[in-house]
Every structure is written in structure tokens, then in C-alpha cells.
Amino acid sequence: MTAGMLTTILIAMLGGAIRVSTPFMFVALGETITEKSGRINLGLEGNLVLGAMVAYGVSYETGQPWLGVLCAGFSGVFLGLIHGLICSLPRVNDIAVGIAMMTFGIGVAFFFGKPYIQPSAPRLESLPLGNWSDNPALRSALEINPLFFVGIIMAAVIWWMLANTRPGVILRMVGDSEPSARAMGVNPIKVRVLATAAGGFMAGVGGAFLSLSYPGSWNEGLSSGQGLMAVALVIFARWNPLRCILAALLFGAAGAIGPALQSVGISQGYYFFNAAPYILTLFIMIASARSGASAAVAPGELSIVK
């Protein structure tokens, strides 16, 4: 492998990390909020797809892509609230409800999304941050969507809030020990419903990125399971918002390996390289699950931990 090929691959991985990571970032951050409250919402794939459809539809109808992003967030709140409220009924399993909500969200999105597959909606403008470089590949890799930075800022804010603010402490308390929360006079159900709705909002915004920025159009194969992968990334990130960012970037970079290797002429075994992100996740999950540290930081009220 020559130096030029290596540069190409590294630039492609950098670009891939920036382009592909944003939806993972938002879904993973949303799921972190929800899981910190002691609930698992596996339905965020549905939020992602519905968010993508709503954002595209609103952007097309109004010509305002940012309004589309906002509406996508609220479509996520809608799904999150349903999940949160159903799971608040006695003896309801949040994982099963999550799978149902995933199918529901996808179904609603496909049903209302039919008229929006064809038209081209106004997209979110990216910031050309690579203009200092004369390498076209690098310039393209550094065309960064503002939502990418919003995601990073959100991660820092959530991390800070969880550690230092009263709402953050209440959220963690509800997630770690319901009896303690009750003893403190906190209503765990209310907190969990709000946390699931907030998580739903984030996932909806992640969907808006898919349809309005990259790849930047609405169709029914758009997400192909990214919402589910992001939920797995949360465990890998050990419920830490800052690590969610790293996990999302790593996953995005791994996804760029397959096409990048083929583009420099290493084309044997592309099925294997295309599977790189999933293989990577699998290994990291095994590595991180084996360490006792992961179990130690898992919210105590999660149904998979209890």
C-alpha cells in the first residue's frame, strides 16, 4: 500500500466519520437519556425513520429545512411519549414495547412518506470548513453539517447536566434505584416518561440529518438499521454521553472503510470490509462486556440488568 493510498483511505475515514456519525450520535445520546432513567427504548429506529420522513416532508412543503428538523424532533417526542406511557402500565416489558414502537414508527413513516420519495426537498446547508486545503477530497470531507456540532455540544451539555445538576441527579437516581427515588419524593414514572420523550426527540433529529443532509433524500431503505446499531453503541459507550460521540465517530469511520478500500483498488473481499462496522461493534461489545466496569456503571433499574 502506497502513502497516497493510505492518505486516501484516512481522508475517506475522516469524512465518513463526520458524515455518517451524526445520526448515530443523536440516537445514542437520546438512548443514553432514556436508559439513565431505567428504561430501554429499542424503538428509536422507528423514531429515526419517522423523523427522516417528517423532516423531508416539512422541508419540502415549507421550504424551511430547519423547521423540518424541529418537526422531526417532535415526531420523536410523540413516539417516545407513547412508549413511555405504555411502559408505565404495570407488568409491561419495555423491550417488547420498543420493538412494537419501532415497527409502528416505520409503518407510519412509510404510509405518509409515499408522496415524498420523488420530490427534492431543500436540504440543510453544510459549512465548508475545508476551504484552506487544496485537496478536493479533504475539502469534501470537511463539509460539515451544523447538526454534527449541535450533537457534540448536546453531548457535553448532557454529560455536564448528569453530573452537576439537580435534574441530572434525579434522572440517575430514578435509573439506579427506584426505592431511593420514591423516598426522596420523586415520581419515577413521570421522570421516565419525560426521559423517553427527550430521547425520542434526539432520535427524531437524527433522522432529520439522514433525509436532509447525508445521504440527503427520503426513501424507504434510508436507515437500514442505524437506529438499532446506535442503541447497541450506548452499551459500548457505557452510558456516557461523551463516549457516545467517540463510539459514533468510530462507527462512521469503520463504515467508510469498505467503499474507500475499493476506491483505491483493494477490491477483494468487499463483503467483509462492508461488514467492518458490525464486526468492530461485536468485538468492542465482547471486550467491554467482559470488563466488570461496564456492569458497574449500568443503571440499576434497567430490565436487562435487574
Binding site: 458524515r19 445521504p215 476506491s263 468487499y270
Partner: protein
């Protein structure tokens, strides 16, 4: 579980309608009676408005809806798995379908072959050249050789590309896709002997994020014309346009998606086949087992030229189209694959069945099928 499903359906069928049991065998299978109601079930692998394969099919199917006595029922987003068996069986048993069109490559083997054996009174037709006479006679295939239109794409691309480096985003290395890639190369080399085609396989018919990544990777590798063979080319075309390179379309007219860079596109003209089907059904005739075609019988076409096509490219592409209509061969040997093996010795007719088994990329294509 399967047992229960079938028995429930059988009960439904026999209970609900002596009609179905009595009229179907008499009507269709004995091929005699004109004006027998045809209930036509069409199954698609994706959404009917995907700017690509499924849309091209669905638009043409409209022709069949205008035939009196033909009722069309459609189902979309049916994966190439046991799901297609279930869809088709429910069309047969619940809707009384007596003609089924399966429009995706992977529906055929084993699903449609098994169904044809199980329901000998129902006619099955599949949109690929996979049928042969060892298979049930109530099964068949129809197909247009889109590689002829990709050859024209190649001619236009070869003269519209300043560098001669062309890029191809492909789904899976099946013969149809490989033939499109190879024909695109041969078209480009017919006008620019130094042209190359770099191919990236995504491994899936529809995987928008990876298609966008592949398109970006090709542009980063220096390609200045992109084309593709995936179910919905919208993402590749829009990515090419936003990166400022030219593009050729596939399956449907994507010209409006790329106002600056669109050259031309390879399109099926399914309407020719379906119009033929419609005429035959109106007369009560049974459909042929094999229908194939290309430029010579108006079954493929190229999209209207876009702003990316240079005047020389348009002239050369028009000439190439005219030659294909006369039957000018695309694969003229000797040709080597990109591993250096001789794969085509002499001149191949454009419809030579040997080409249906294509499993190589020609010299000049950068990429690998494994």
C-alpha cells in the same frame, strides 16, 4: 405453522367460492375463452416510486390496467425471501389471481419455481432471463437487455469526461449487473481507448448511506462521471451532482435530479413488453414463456440528454443507438477479463445466452467481484 396457514387458506378458498374452483381451470389454463377475467398480481421488491427499477416497472404496468377484464393487484416492498411466496399465495388464494408477475431477480429461484409447480393453473412470469424448458410451462421470463443502453451511456460518458476515469456504483455482482458495467466500459472505450471504469460494490440493492459513501469514494479517487446499478439511483445521482461531477442514470429518467451534470441514462421500456402482454390478454391468449429484447425491438431506451453531455457525445451516442437498432454487436472479441484471462474469443450476438452467465469484469474495469 406453515401447515395451519395453508389449511386455513384452503378452507377459505373452497368455502368462499365454488366460483374460484370452477372458473379458474376452465378459463385460463385451457387458454380458450376470450374475455375471461384476468386477475393479475404484481409483486415489487421496493416502493413503486423509487426513481428506479420498481418505478420503471410500475409505470409500465399502468398499461395493463387499461385492458377490459384485467384487474391488477399490486404489492410492494416484498423481500426476496419466503415473504414473496406468502404474498403470491395470498394473491392466488384470497384474490383469485390467475397471472402473477414477479418483478425482482431473487423471486425466481426457488420461490416462483415452487409456486408454479404447486399452482399449475396459475401463470407466472418473472422479469429476468432465467426460465428454461426444463421448468414448468406455466412459468416464464421476460427481460430487456439494459446493457445496450449502458453501452450508449458509456459512449456519451467517454466523450463527456475530461479524464476518461468513470465510476460505477453497483449493487451485487450478478450477470445482469456485470454486463451493464462491461458494456459501459466498452461504450466508453469505443470512443476513448484509454477510458477506465472503477466499480464499487455495495452488496445491497438499496443501501442509501453506503451508496453515498461509494459515490464520494469514487469522486475522491478522481472519477469525473458516475453511474450506477442499484434499485434507487437517486442518492448516487444527487451525490454526483453535489460533488460537481457528471453522471449517467439508470432504470428511470434522473435528468431532473442533476440539472448541471446529467449526461443521459439507461432506461427500460417495459411498456413495450406490457403492451404486448395487454394485447395478448385482451385476445385471451396465453403469454409466451420467453420474451427478450433490446434496442432492436424498442425495449430499452436512453434518457433525454442533459447539460453534462457534450455535442460530440450526443452525436456519437445517437450513432451508437442507431447501430444497436441494426444489431451491431457490443462484445467483439478477443476480450480479456481484468485478471488477464481470455473470456470472449469471437464476436458475440447481443442476445447470445452465453452472455447471461457473465461472471467477470473486463480489462479496463478496476474492481473485483469477490
Amino acid at each position: 405453522m406453515l401447515e395451519t396457514r395453508f389449511s386455513r387458506r384452503s378452507i377459505l378458498k373452497s368455502g368462499a367460492a365454488g366460483f374460484a374452483v370452477a372458473t379458474l381451470p376452465l378459463g385460463f389454463a385451457t387458454r380458450a375463452v376470450a374475455q375471461t377475467p384476468v386477475i393479475l398480481g404484481v409483486v415489487y421488491v421496493g416502493p413503486r416510486d423509487d426513481f428506479g427499477w420498481n418505478q420503471a416497472q410500475a409505470v409500465a404496468i399502468e398499461v395493463l390496467k387499461t385492458v377490459p377484464n384485467v384487474t391488477v393487484i399490486e404489492e410492494e416492498n416484498v423481500p426476496e425471501t419466503d415473504a414473496v411466496t406468502q404474498s403470491m399465495e395470498s394473491m392466488i388464494n384470497l384474490d383469485g389471481a390467475n397471472l402473477i408477475l414477479g418483478t425482482s431477480f431473487g423471486y425466481f429461484d426457488p420461490f416462483m419455481i415452487d409456486l408454479a409447480k404447486k399452482y399449475p393453473d396459475v401463470q407466472f412470469r418473472h422479469a429476468a432471463p432465467l426460465w428454461n424448458d426444463t421448468m414448468p410451462m406455466n412459468l416464464g421470463g421476460y427481460f430487456a437487455y439494459l446493457n445496450q443502453a449502458h453501452f450508449v451511456n458509456g459512449v456519451a460518458a467517454g466523450l463527456s469526461s475530461p479524464t476518461g476515469k468513470l465510476g460505477f456504483v453497483a449493487a451485487k455482482p450478478i450477470p445482469t449487473v456485470l454486463s451493464n458495467i462491461n458494456s459501459f466500459l466498452l461504450g466508453a472505450r469505443s470512443v476513448n481507448p484509454a477510458a477506465t471504469v472503477q466499480v464499487i460494490f455495495t452488496g445491497e440493492w438499496s443501501m442509501p448511506v453506503r451508496e453515498a459513501e461509494a459515490a464520494n469514494a469514487l469522486v475522491d479517487a478522481g472519477c469525473d462521471v458516475l453511474t450506477c446499478h442499484v434499485d434507487g439511483p437517486k442518492v448516487v445521482i444527487e451525490t454526483a451532482e453535489s460533488r460537481g461531477v457528471k453522471c449517467c442514470g439508470h432504470n428511470a429518467d434522473q435528468g431532473p435530479l442533476a440539472p448541471n451534470g446529467f449526461i443521459t441514462g439507461a432506461e427500460y421500456k417495459w411498456v413495450t413488453i406490457y403492451q404486448m402482454f395487454a394485447d395478448m390478454l385482451a385476445k385471451g391468449e396465453i403469454l409466451p414463456n420467453v420474451v427478450v429484447g433490446g434496442y432492436h425491438n424498442d425495449m430499452v431506451q436512453n434518457s433525454p440528454y442533459g447539460a453534462g453531455a457534450t455535442p460530440e457525445a450526443i452525436a456519437a451516442a445517437d450513432a451508437a443507438m442507431a447501430a444497436l437498432k441494426e444489431g451491431k454487436p457490443i462484445y467483439v472479441g478477443p476480450l480479456n477479463d481484468n485478471q488477464g484471462n481470455l473470456v470472449i474469443e469471437g464476436t458475440m450476438d447481443n442476445y447470445d445466452p452465453v452472455l447471461d452467465g457473465m461472471n467477470y469484469l473486463l480489462e479496463g474495469v478496476i474492481g473485483s467481484i469477490t
